[in-house]
């Protein structure tokens, strides 16, 4: 057995150029496959990341009725003892952000728009999603302010700017009427279009006061230490609050439509990936075809001196296995480095493309996913393609006519 390994190993280095061509074909195939995957997933990850950070949080604690009817009537009592119980529920909880959210009319005296009032703890929000960096005008509100920040889109629609006064009209908890006048402290540019066009941010205590909902919140956003703890944190919370009317949801449970949309959005990239695999397969086939034809004579000699076809096939199989492993490992490392670079330094979009992306509410960059699984899944796929294509020389060996081979 060792001799066959030795034979195969030396064979692949006998014709260095040929081996390097095959290895680089595999390396480029892996890079191309990972790159494509990374681009496809990059924009989705960015969208999801924005949604999670600005909208849902990783895990959200709600009243169990809130999911069906998102009204203030289904808000829940939240004080420091609830906070402590949440923090005690799981050691992997990093941060919690109470929010109160409801629909209100926002007006400037002449025009009126529907808006989402979000009562937040500004400082905590900033720690969670760097909200202050999104401030495009004015100042960032503080916890005891009685001033608002507006999404940029909403401000434009209402033709309001920093220093103007915003009128909020709506309903508080249990049908209490709620209305107030607030100075606009700042304008915030949200990376999600819906938020950008609708959100009014008010410090939590002021919002609770306005909505006659002192000590009540509609949702508690929970950030685990790492996103891989999302599921377990939600589970701990559901266990800890099993006897109360509170339920913890993960972001995936809160955003099913978005995930479905992504699935749908992936149809075309998937097709392109299949096309890429076919191109890769044919590329390998071309290389392996010339390689095999060049070596028919050698195969013929080995068979005529008494090497069994099975043994010869084993040697050739080992050769292709070595080459594929070298190629795939190199490809994975190379693509890891390349993607790492582009993940850290995303390509900045310019011109129309940039404008189109900005209009969607996103940053004008080409985000690349750095998810670990794409390296090994794409590496595995390319490896599988290589091994399938490399069956060709084995077939050839099984069918080889010794004399014809020795003559070639």
């Amino acid at each position: 057995m060792l001799t066959y390994f030795k034979l195969a190993w030396r064979n692949i280095w006998r014709n260095r150029r040929r081996t390097l061509i095959t290895v680089s074909a595999i390396v480029f195939a892996v890079i191309a496959a990972v790159f494509m995957q990374s681009m496809n997933r990059g924009s989705h990850e960015m969208m999801l990341d924005n949604m999670v950070r600005f909208s849902t949080g990783y895990v959200q604690l709600q009243d169990y009725r809130y999911d069906d009817e998102s009204s203030l009537d289904n808000s829940f009592y939240y004080d420091s003892s609830v906070r402590d119980r949440v923090l005690d529920a799981d050691p992997n909880i990093d941060m919690i952000l109470p929010r109160i959210e409801t629909f209100m009319l926002a007006a400037n005296g002449a025009a009126t728009r529907g808006s989402i009032l979000l009562g937040i703890d500004p400082e905590k929000e900033h720690r969670f999603n760097e909200l202050e960096n999104r401030l495009s005008k004015g100042r960032f509100i503080e916890r005891d302010d009685a001033a608002v920040m507006l999404g940029e889109g909403l401000a434009e629609r209402l033709q309001l700017t920093v220093g103007d006064t915003l009128v909020l009209i709506g309903r508080g908890r249990f049908g209490m009427s709620a209305s107030g006048l607030y100075e606009i402290a700042g304008i915030v540019e949200f990376p999600i279009r819906d938020l950008n066009n609708q959100v009014v941010l008010l410090p939590l205590p002021e919002a609770q006061y306005l909505l006659s909902a002192d000590d009540y919140i509609t949702s508690l956003l929970i950030a685990p230490r790492s996103d891989r703890h999302t599921g377990s944190v939600a589970q701990s919370l559901n266990e800890a609050f099993a006897d109360e009317e509170l339920v913890a949801y993960t972001w995936a449970e809160l955003l099913p439509e978005l995930l479905e949309l992504f699935e749908f959005d992936l149809a075309v990239p998937r097709l392109l990936t299949v096309v890429l695999y076919i191109v890769i397969g044919f590329g390998f086939f071309g290389t392996i075809l010339t390689m095999t034809l060049e070596r028919l004579r050698e195969f013929g000699v080995l068979l005529s001196v008494g090497m069994k076809r099975g043994k010869l096939a084993l040697v050739v199989f080992l050769e292709t296995l070595f080459i594929s492993i070298i190629g795939v490992l190199t490809g994975v490392v190379a693509s890891w480095l390349i993607i790492y670079y582009f993940h850290r330094n995303p390509v900045e979009l310019t011109g129309d493309a940039a404008q189109a992306v900005v209009d969607m509410g996103w940053d004008p960059i080409l985000p690349m996913s750095f998810a670990a699984d794409q390296f090994y899944t794409q590496g595995f796929f390319v490896f599988a393609i290589a091994m399938i294509v490399f069956l060709f020389p084995l077939l050839k060996i099984v069918k080889l006519n010794i004399l014809e081979a020795a003559r070639s």
Binding site: T3, L303, S304, V305, K308, I402
Partner: protein, 236 residues
């Protein structure tokens, strides 16, 4: 019993299009210990005959017996094994495994026979000494001259302890001193160890050294001449 016997051996290439009668009714017998040369003009069927005897190709009609065994109808996988056990091959273009050293090339054949590893290495060394390459054991084929490679090929053919060795124009690619040197080695093995050789050649000096000369013309045996002293003009 005859070592090799062919019975009305015929071979027609392309029977359906442009038939080429490469062999016509060839019946020859080779006894153990012979040093036989097959000669004849180009295209007369020498290679075809050697291929049939070596079980590398199937005849159109007729039979080939090796040590009494009919190999004509043998299955491919059985034939490979049979060749490995009974026949040694030396080809015109050396055909060593390029990535193996001289010693590894020789022991590889024994490995295919599942021999004991120690025995393999000592026998490889012994054979290399015999063909005068005791100092080139670790050389790879491309580091050796054509004559040296061909001597390794002879040693390799002997390694499997075959009943006989078939060599198709073993000297055709060698300069004349290498050719004579190879022939010296072959004839010494023939005399000292009674190894049977059947080889084809165009080279008159090689023909002169044979003890039996079978001349082919147009696919048939034209003459079959035994010369008792043919092997004895070895100069040393």
């Amino acid at each position: 019993m005859a070592l090799v016997r062919t019975e009305n051996l015929s071979k027609v290439y392309n029977p359906d299009t442009v038939p080429v009668h490469a062999l016509r009714d060839v019946s020859v017998t080779i006894e153990p210990g012979e040093f036989t040369s097959i000669v004849g003009p180009s295209g007369s069927g020498k290679t075809t005959l050697l291929n049939m005897i070596g079980g590398l190709d199937k005849p159109s009609s007729g039979k080939v017996f090796i040590n009494g065994t009919d190999i004509t109808g043998m299955k491919d996988s059985k034939l490979i094994d049979f060749r490995l056990r009974n026949i040694g091959f030396v080809f015109q273009h050396y055909n060593l495994i390029p990535v193996f050293t001289a010693r590894e090339n020789i022991s590889f054949i024994m490995l295919l026979q599942n021999r004991d590893k120690k025995e393999m290495l000592s026998r490889a060394d012994e054979l290399l000494d015999k063909v005068g390459l005791g100092d080139r054991k670790d050389a790879r084929p491309k580091e050796m001259s054509g004559g040296q490679q061909q001597r390794v090929a002879v040693a390799r053919a002997l390694a499997s302890e075959p009943k006989f060795i078939l060599a198709d124009e073993p000297t055709a690619n060698l300069d004349s001193s290498s050719a004579m040197n190879l022939l010296d080695i072959m004839s010494r093995m023939n005399k000292e160890q009674n190894v049977t050789f059947v080889f084809s050649t165009h080279d008159q000096r090689v023909i002169d050294r044979a003890r039996r000369v079978i001349t082919m013309v147009d696919g048939a045996v034209d003459s079959d001449e035994r010369r008792e002293n043919g092997n004895d003009n070895e100069k040393e």
